[in-house]
Symmetry: C2
Subunit: 192 residues, 2 copies
Amino acid sequence: MPPLTKDVIKFGHFIVTSQVFHLSPLSFALVNIKPLLPGHVLVSPRRIVPRFNDLSIDEVQDLFLTVQRVSRMVERVFKATSLNIAIQDGVDAGQSVPHVHAHIIPRKRADLEGFGGTDAIYSMMEGEDGDLDRHFNERSGSDPSTTTNGQGRGKFPAVDADESRTPRNEEEMEREAQWLAEEMAKDEKEYG
Amino acid sequence: MPPLTKDVIKFGHFIVTSQVFHLSPLSFALVNIKPLLPGHVLVSPRRIVPRFNDLSIDEVQDLFLTVQRVSRMVERVFKATSLNIAIQDGVDAGQSVPHVHAHIIPRKRADLEGFGGTDAIYSMMEGEDGDLDRHFNERSGSDPSTTTNGQGRGKFPAVDADESRTPRNEEEMEREAQWLAEEMAKDEKEYG
Protein backbone atom coordinates (compact mmCIF):
# COMPACT_ATOMS: atom_id res chain seq x y z
CA MET A 1 0.00 0.00 0.00
CA PRO A 2 1.52 3.37 -0.98
CA PRO A 3 1.83 6.08 1.67
CA LEU A 4 -1.40 8.03 2.15
CA THR A 5 0.27 11.32 1.34
CA LYS A 6 3.51 12.98 0.33
CA ASP A 7 2.75 15.78 2.78
CA VAL A 8 4.53 15.93 6.10
CA ILE A 9 1.81 15.57 8.73
CA LYS A 10 2.49 17.25 12.04
CA PHE A 11 0.84 16.71 15.40
CA GLY A 12 1.88 19.75 17.37
CA HIS A 13 5.58 20.06 16.56
CA PHE A 14 5.98 16.28 16.07
CA ILE A 15 6.17 14.69 12.62
CA VAL A 16 3.68 11.79 12.59
CA THR A 17 3.36 11.03 8.86
CA SER A 18 4.00 7.29 9.25
CA GLN A 19 1.35 7.00 12.00
CA VAL A 20 -1.42 8.52 9.89
CA PHE A 21 -4.03 6.04 8.62
CA HIS A 22 -6.70 8.41 7.31
CA LEU A 23 -6.77 11.80 5.67
CA SER A 24 -9.76 13.98 4.96
CA PRO A 25 -9.60 17.43 3.35
CA LEU A 26 -9.01 19.17 6.69
CA SER A 27 -8.30 16.40 9.22
CA PHE A 28 -6.16 13.33 9.83
CA ALA A 29 -6.30 10.25 12.03
CA LEU A 30 -3.22 8.70 13.62
CA VAL A 31 -2.40 5.58 15.60
CA ASN A 32 -1.25 6.14 19.14
CA ILE A 33 2.30 5.80 20.42
CA LYS A 34 0.98 4.20 23.62
CA PRO A 35 -2.67 3.13 23.20
CA LEU A 36 -4.62 2.74 26.43
CA LEU A 37 -6.77 0.01 24.96
CA PRO A 38 -6.55 -1.69 21.53
CA GLY A 39 -7.72 0.71 18.84
CA HIS A 40 -7.16 3.91 20.82
CA VAL A 41 -6.51 6.49 18.08
CA LEU A 42 -6.50 10.28 17.69
CA VAL A 43 -8.16 12.60 15.17
CA SER A 44 -6.82 16.13 14.60
CA PRO A 45 -7.36 19.04 12.27
CA ARG A 46 -4.49 19.43 9.75
CA ARG A 47 -4.04 23.02 10.83
CA ILE A 48 -2.12 23.24 14.09
CA VAL A 49 -4.25 25.22 16.52
CA PRO A 50 -4.51 24.60 20.25
CA ARG A 51 -8.16 25.28 20.98
CA PHE A 52 -11.44 23.90 19.62
CA ASN A 53 -12.74 27.44 19.27
CA ASP A 54 -9.82 28.23 16.91
CA LEU A 55 -11.36 25.92 14.29
CA SER A 56 -13.35 27.30 11.36
CA ILE A 57 -16.86 25.99 10.64
CA ASP A 58 -15.46 23.83 7.84
CA GLU A 59 -12.77 22.42 10.12
CA VAL A 60 -15.28 21.54 12.88
CA GLN A 61 -17.55 19.79 10.40
CA ASP A 62 -14.73 17.90 8.72
CA LEU A 63 -13.17 16.92 12.06
CA PHE A 64 -16.30 15.30 13.46
CA LEU A 65 -17.28 13.56 10.24
CA THR A 66 -13.78 12.09 10.40
CA VAL A 67 -14.30 11.18 14.07
CA GLN A 68 -17.55 9.44 13.10
CA ARG A 69 -15.95 7.48 10.24
CA VAL A 70 -12.90 6.50 12.25
CA SER A 71 -14.93 5.53 15.31
CA ARG A 72 -17.16 3.27 13.21
CA MET A 73 -14.08 1.57 11.80
CA VAL A 74 -12.27 1.02 15.11
CA GLU A 75 -15.44 -0.25 16.80
CA ARG A 76 -15.82 -2.82 14.02
CA VAL A 77 -12.17 -3.81 13.70
CA PHE A 78 -11.49 -4.05 17.44
CA LYS A 79 -14.83 -5.82 18.08
CA ALA A 80 -15.94 -3.15 20.55
CA THR A 81 -19.47 -2.27 21.70
CA SER A 82 -19.00 1.37 22.83
CA LEU A 83 -16.59 4.28 22.46
CA ASN A 84 -15.16 7.08 24.54
CA ILE A 85 -14.75 10.26 22.51
CA ALA A 86 -13.03 13.10 24.36
CA ILE A 87 -11.24 16.38 23.80
CA GLN A 88 -9.07 18.01 26.44
CA ASP A 89 -9.47 21.55 25.21
CA GLY A 90 -6.75 23.63 26.82
CA VAL A 91 -4.05 23.01 29.38
CA ASP A 92 -6.38 23.45 32.38
CA ALA A 93 -8.47 20.57 31.01
CA GLY A 94 -5.39 18.32 30.83
CA GLN A 95 -4.27 18.94 27.22
CA SER A 96 -0.57 18.17 26.74
CA VAL A 97 0.08 18.59 22.99
CA PRO A 98 -1.22 22.08 22.00
CA HIS A 99 -2.94 20.84 18.83
CA VAL A 100 -6.69 20.02 18.96
CA HIS A 101 -7.12 16.23 19.14
CA ALA A 102 -10.07 13.94 19.82
CA HIS A 103 -9.30 10.67 21.57
CA ILE A 104 -11.33 7.73 20.25
CA ILE A 105 -11.19 4.69 22.53
CA PRO A 106 -13.10 1.50 21.65
CA ARG A 107 -14.74 -0.09 24.70
CA LYS A 108 -16.10 -3.52 25.56
CA ARG A 109 -18.22 -4.73 28.44
CA ALA A 110 -16.15 -4.89 31.63
CA ASP A 111 -12.91 -4.23 29.71
CA LEU A 112 -11.45 -2.41 32.72
CA GLU A 113 -12.81 -4.79 35.35
CA GLY A 114 -10.06 -5.08 37.92
CA PHE A 115 -8.46 -1.80 36.81
CA GLY A 116 -11.00 0.53 38.38
CA GLY A 117 -14.09 -0.13 36.21
CA THR A 118 -15.55 1.57 33.14
CA ASP A 119 -14.57 5.13 34.01
CA ALA A 120 -10.95 4.33 34.86
CA ILE A 121 -10.32 5.07 31.17
CA TYR A 122 -10.43 8.78 31.98
CA SER A 123 -7.59 8.86 34.43
CA MET A 124 -5.71 6.54 32.09
CA MET A 125 -6.40 8.95 29.24
CA GLU A 126 -5.20 11.84 31.31
CA GLY A 127 -1.97 10.08 32.11
CA GLU A 128 -1.70 9.08 28.47
CA ASP A 129 -2.11 12.60 27.18
CA GLY A 130 0.91 13.59 29.24
CA ASP A 131 2.79 10.48 28.18
CA LEU A 132 2.05 11.23 24.54
CA ASP A 133 3.97 14.44 24.75
CA ARG A 134 6.76 12.99 26.86
CA HIS A 135 7.29 9.95 24.65
CA PHE A 136 7.23 11.95 21.45
CA ASN A 137 9.84 14.16 23.02
CA GLU A 138 12.01 11.25 24.10
CA ARG A 139 11.85 9.84 20.59
CA SER A 140 12.62 13.08 18.84
CA GLY A 141 15.21 14.22 21.33
CA SER A 142 13.49 17.54 22.09
CA ASP A 143 13.86 19.22 25.40
CA PRO A 144 10.84 18.19 27.50
CA SER A 145 11.14 21.32 29.57
CA THR A 146 10.04 23.37 26.56
CA THR A 147 6.70 21.55 26.29
CA THR A 148 3.50 21.98 28.22
CA ASN A 149 3.68 18.42 29.51
CA GLY A 150 2.75 18.02 33.12
CA GLN A 151 1.37 21.48 33.75
CA GLY A 152 -1.78 21.41 35.83
CA ARG A 153 -1.71 17.64 36.11
CA GLY A 154 -0.17 14.91 38.15
CA LYS A 155 -2.01 15.16 41.44
CA PHE A 156 -4.33 12.31 40.53
CA PRO A 157 -2.73 8.87 40.56
CA ALA A 158 -2.97 7.54 37.00
CA VAL A 159 -4.76 4.20 36.79
CA ASP A 160 -2.90 2.21 34.21
CA ALA A 161 -3.87 -1.20 32.88
CA ASP A 162 -0.26 -2.02 32.21
CA GLU A 163 2.30 0.09 34.01
CA SER A 164 5.10 -1.70 32.22
CA ARG A 165 3.96 -1.06 28.65
CA THR A 166 6.53 0.81 26.57
CA PRO A 167 5.93 3.25 23.73
CA ARG A 168 5.66 1.40 20.42
CA ASN A 169 8.34 1.80 17.82
CA GLU A 170 7.91 3.42 14.41
CA GLU A 171 7.69 0.10 12.58
CA GLU A 172 4.93 -1.24 14.81
CA MET A 173 2.90 1.97 14.47
CA GLU A 174 3.44 2.03 10.71
CA ARG A 175 2.16 -1.54 10.39
CA GLU A 176 -0.97 -0.69 12.37
CA ALA A 177 -1.48 2.51 10.38
CA GLN A 178 -1.33 0.55 7.11
CA TRP A 179 -3.75 -2.05 8.41
CA LEU A 180 -6.23 0.59 9.61
CA ALA A 181 -5.90 2.48 6.31
CA GLU A 182 -6.98 -0.71 4.52
CA GLU A 183 -9.91 -1.09 6.92
CA MET A 184 -10.94 2.54 6.29
CA ALA A 185 -10.87 1.80 2.55
CA LYS A 186 -13.25 -1.16 3.07
CA ASP A 187 -15.71 1.10 4.91
CA GLU A 188 -15.44 3.70 2.21
CA LYS A 189 -16.55 1.14 -0.35
CA GLU A 190 -19.51 0.20 1.83
CA TYR A 191 -20.62 3.60 3.14
CA GLY A 192 -19.12 5.99 0.59
CA MET B 1 -37.75 36.44 27.58
CA PRO B 2 -40.21 34.16 25.76
CA PRO B 3 -39.60 30.40 25.75
CA LEU B 4 -37.17 29.32 23.04
CA THR B 5 -39.67 26.96 21.48
CA LYS B 6 -43.20 25.61 21.67
CA ASP B 7 -41.86 22.16 20.90
CA VAL B 8 -41.50 19.62 23.66
CA ILE B 9 -37.78 18.84 23.88
CA LYS B 10 -36.87 15.38 25.07
CA PHE B 11 -33.58 14.09 26.42
CA GLY B 12 -34.00 10.33 26.23
CA HIS B 13 -37.50 9.80 27.63
CA PHE B 14 -37.28 12.88 29.88
CA ILE B 15 -38.97 16.17 29.00
CA VAL B 16 -36.36 18.93 29.43
CA THR B 17 -37.97 21.87 27.61
CA SER B 18 -37.46 24.34 30.48
CA GLN B 19 -33.75 23.43 30.77
CA VAL B 20 -33.00 24.17 27.10
CA PHE B 21 -31.06 27.39 26.48
CA HIS B 22 -30.12 26.99 22.83
CA LEU B 23 -31.71 25.44 19.77
CA SER B 24 -30.15 24.88 16.38
CA PRO B 25 -31.90 23.22 13.44
CA LEU B 26 -30.93 19.71 14.57
CA SER B 27 -29.51 20.10 18.09
CA PHE B 28 -30.24 21.59 21.52
CA ALA B 29 -28.25 22.59 24.59
CA LEU B 30 -29.53 22.13 28.13
CA VAL B 31 -28.44 23.09 31.62
CA ASN B 32 -27.57 20.24 33.91
CA ILE B 33 -29.66 18.95 36.79
CA LYS B 34 -26.48 18.48 38.88
CA PRO B 35 -23.55 20.34 37.30
CA LEU B 36 -20.11 19.07 38.30
CA LEU B 37 -18.59 22.51 37.96
CA PRO B 38 -20.27 25.86 37.19
CA GLY B 39 -21.33 25.94 33.55
CA HIS B 40 -21.38 22.16 33.00
CA VAL B 41 -23.95 21.77 30.20
CA LEU B 42 -25.00 19.15 27.66
CA VAL B 43 -25.54 19.29 23.89
CA SER B 44 -27.70 16.68 22.13
CA PRO B 45 -29.18 16.02 18.71
CA ARG B 46 -32.94 16.65 18.61
CA ARG B 47 -33.50 13.17 17.26
CA ILE B 48 -33.31 10.59 20.04
CA VAL B 49 -30.70 8.05 19.03
CA PRO B 50 -28.30 6.28 21.38
CA ARG B 51 -25.11 6.10 19.35
CA PHE B 52 -22.89 8.68 17.65
CA ASN B 53 -22.81 6.50 14.54
CA ASP B 54 -26.63 6.73 14.33
CA LEU B 55 -26.31 10.43 13.44
CA SER B 56 -26.61 11.62 9.84
CA ILE B 57 -23.89 13.80 8.30
CA ASP B 58 -26.11 16.86 8.82
CA GLU B 59 -26.70 15.96 12.45
CA VAL B 60 -22.98 15.47 13.18
CA GLN B 61 -22.12 18.81 11.62
CA ASP B 62 -24.91 20.67 13.38
CA LEU B 63 -24.15 19.01 16.71
CA PHE B 64 -20.49 20.06 16.78
CA LEU B 65 -21.08 23.57 15.51
CA THR B 66 -23.50 23.81 18.43
CA VAL B 67 -20.89 22.37 20.78
CA GLN B 68 -18.42 24.98 19.54
CA ARG B 69 -20.85 27.88 19.99
CA VAL B 70 -22.00 26.72 23.41
CA SER B 71 -18.47 26.01 24.61
CA ARG B 72 -17.33 29.50 23.59
CA MET B 73 -20.22 31.00 25.55
CA VAL B 74 -19.75 28.98 28.75
CA GLU B 75 -16.00 29.57 28.75
CA ARG B 76 -16.66 33.33 28.56
CA VAL B 77 -19.57 33.49 31.00
CA PHE B 78 -18.02 31.23 33.64
CA LYS B 79 -14.59 32.88 33.24
CA ALA B 80 -12.92 29.58 32.38
CA THR B 81 -9.62 28.96 30.56
CA SER B 82 -10.17 25.43 29.21
CA LEU B 83 -12.94 22.92 28.52
CA ASN B 84 -13.57 19.21 28.76
CA ILE B 85 -15.69 17.96 25.88
CA ALA B 86 -16.69 14.30 26.13
CA ILE B 87 -19.15 11.77 24.76
CA GLN B 88 -19.79 8.45 26.43
CA ASP B 89 -20.91 6.61 23.34
CA GLY B 90 -22.70 3.46 24.46
CA VAL B 91 -23.33 1.77 27.78
CA ASP B 92 -19.90 0.10 27.93
CA ALA B 93 -18.34 3.57 27.77
CA GLY B 94 -20.44 4.72 30.75
CA GLN B 95 -23.46 6.23 28.94
CA SER B 96 -26.55 6.31 31.16
CA VAL B 97 -29.21 8.16 29.13
CA PRO B 98 -29.44 6.41 25.73
CA HIS B 99 -29.53 9.67 23.75
CA VAL B 100 -26.25 11.02 22.28
CA HIS B 101 -24.98 13.86 24.48
CA ALA B 102 -21.75 15.82 24.66
CA HIS B 103 -20.70 17.05 28.08
CA ILE B 104 -19.14 20.53 28.04
CA ILE B 105 -17.36 21.41 31.28
CA PRO B 106 -15.61 24.78 31.70
CA ARG B 107 -12.28 24.45 33.49
CA LYS B 108 -9.97 26.82 35.36
CA ARG B 109 -6.42 26.42 36.55
CA ALA B 110 -6.30 24.15 39.61
CA ASP B 111 -10.12 24.12 39.91
CA LEU B 112 -10.04 20.58 41.28
CA GLU B 113 -6.97 21.06 43.48
CA GLY B 114 -7.73 19.12 46.63
CA PHE B 115 -10.34 16.96 44.89
CA GLY B 116 -7.93 14.79 42.93
CA GLY B 117 -6.49 17.27 40.40
CA THR B 118 -7.34 18.17 36.82
CA ASP B 119 -8.45 14.73 35.66
CA ALA B 120 -10.72 14.04 38.62
CA ILE B 121 -13.41 15.60 36.42
CA TYR B 122 -13.68 12.33 34.53
CA SER B 123 -14.65 10.14 37.43
CA MET B 124 -16.96 12.95 38.56
CA MET B 125 -18.49 13.00 35.08
CA GLU B 126 -18.93 9.29 35.12
CA GLY B 127 -20.73 9.42 38.44
CA GLU B 128 -22.73 12.35 37.14
CA ASP B 129 -23.84 10.59 34.02
CA GLY B 130 -25.37 7.92 36.24
CA ASP B 131 -26.79 10.55 38.57
CA LEU B 132 -28.35 12.38 35.64
CA ASP B 133 -30.48 9.41 34.84
CA ARG B 134 -31.26 8.61 38.46
CA HIS B 135 -32.22 12.16 39.37
CA PHE B 136 -34.37 12.61 36.31
CA ASN B 137 -36.11 9.43 37.27
CA GLU B 138 -36.60 10.50 40.87
CA ARG B 139 -38.10 13.76 39.65
CA SER B 140 -40.41 12.20 37.11
CA GLY B 141 -41.37 9.27 39.29
CA SER B 142 -40.26 6.65 36.76
CA ASP B 143 -39.03 3.29 37.84
CA PRO B 144 -35.22 3.48 37.97
CA SER B 145 -34.99 -0.25 37.40
CA THR B 146 -36.24 0.23 33.84
CA THR B 147 -33.34 2.50 32.94
CA THR B 148 -29.78 1.71 31.97
CA ASN B 149 -28.45 3.58 35.01
CA GLY B 150 -25.62 1.88 36.79
CA GLN B 151 -24.91 -0.83 34.27
CA GLY B 152 -21.22 -1.41 33.74
CA ARG B 153 -20.25 1.24 36.27
CA GLY B 154 -19.78 1.69 39.92
CA LYS B 155 -16.52 -0.10 40.57
CA PHE B 156 -14.56 3.13 40.56
CA PRO B 157 -15.08 5.36 43.59
CA ALA B 158 -16.62 8.59 42.29
CA VAL B 159 -14.59 11.64 43.20
CA ASP B 160 -17.11 14.30 44.02
CA ALA B 161 -16.33 17.92 44.77
CA ASP B 162 -19.43 18.24 46.89
CA GLU B 163 -20.97 14.99 48.05
CA SER B 164 -23.83 16.84 49.67
CA ARG B 165 -24.99 18.77 46.60
CA THR B 166 -28.60 18.03 45.68
CA PRO B 167 -30.21 18.07 42.24
CA ARG B 168 -31.42 21.55 41.35
CA ASN B 169 -35.11 22.27 41.10
CA GLU B 170 -36.97 23.23 37.91
CA GLU B 171 -37.08 26.92 38.80
CA GLU B 172 -33.35 27.16 39.38
CA MET B 173 -32.57 25.40 36.12
CA GLU B 174 -35.09 27.54 34.24
CA ARG B 175 -33.45 30.72 35.56
CA GLU B 176 -30.04 29.53 34.45
CA ALA B 177 -31.40 28.45 31.07
CA GLN B 178 -32.87 31.91 30.48
CA TRP B 179 -29.64 33.60 31.51
CA LEU B 180 -27.56 31.40 29.20
CA ALA B 181 -30.04 31.93 26.34
CA GLU B 182 -29.44 35.67 26.70
CA GLU B 183 -25.69 35.13 26.68
CA MET B 184 -25.98 32.98 23.54
CA ALA B 185 -27.91 35.83 21.92
CA LYS B 186 -25.07 38.25 22.74
CA ASP B 187 -22.56 35.94 21.04
CA GLU B 188 -24.82 35.57 18.04
CA LYS B 189 -24.76 39.32 17.55
CA GLU B 190 -20.97 39.32 17.77
CA TYR B 191 -20.09 36.17 15.81
CA GLY B 192 -23.27 35.63 13.74
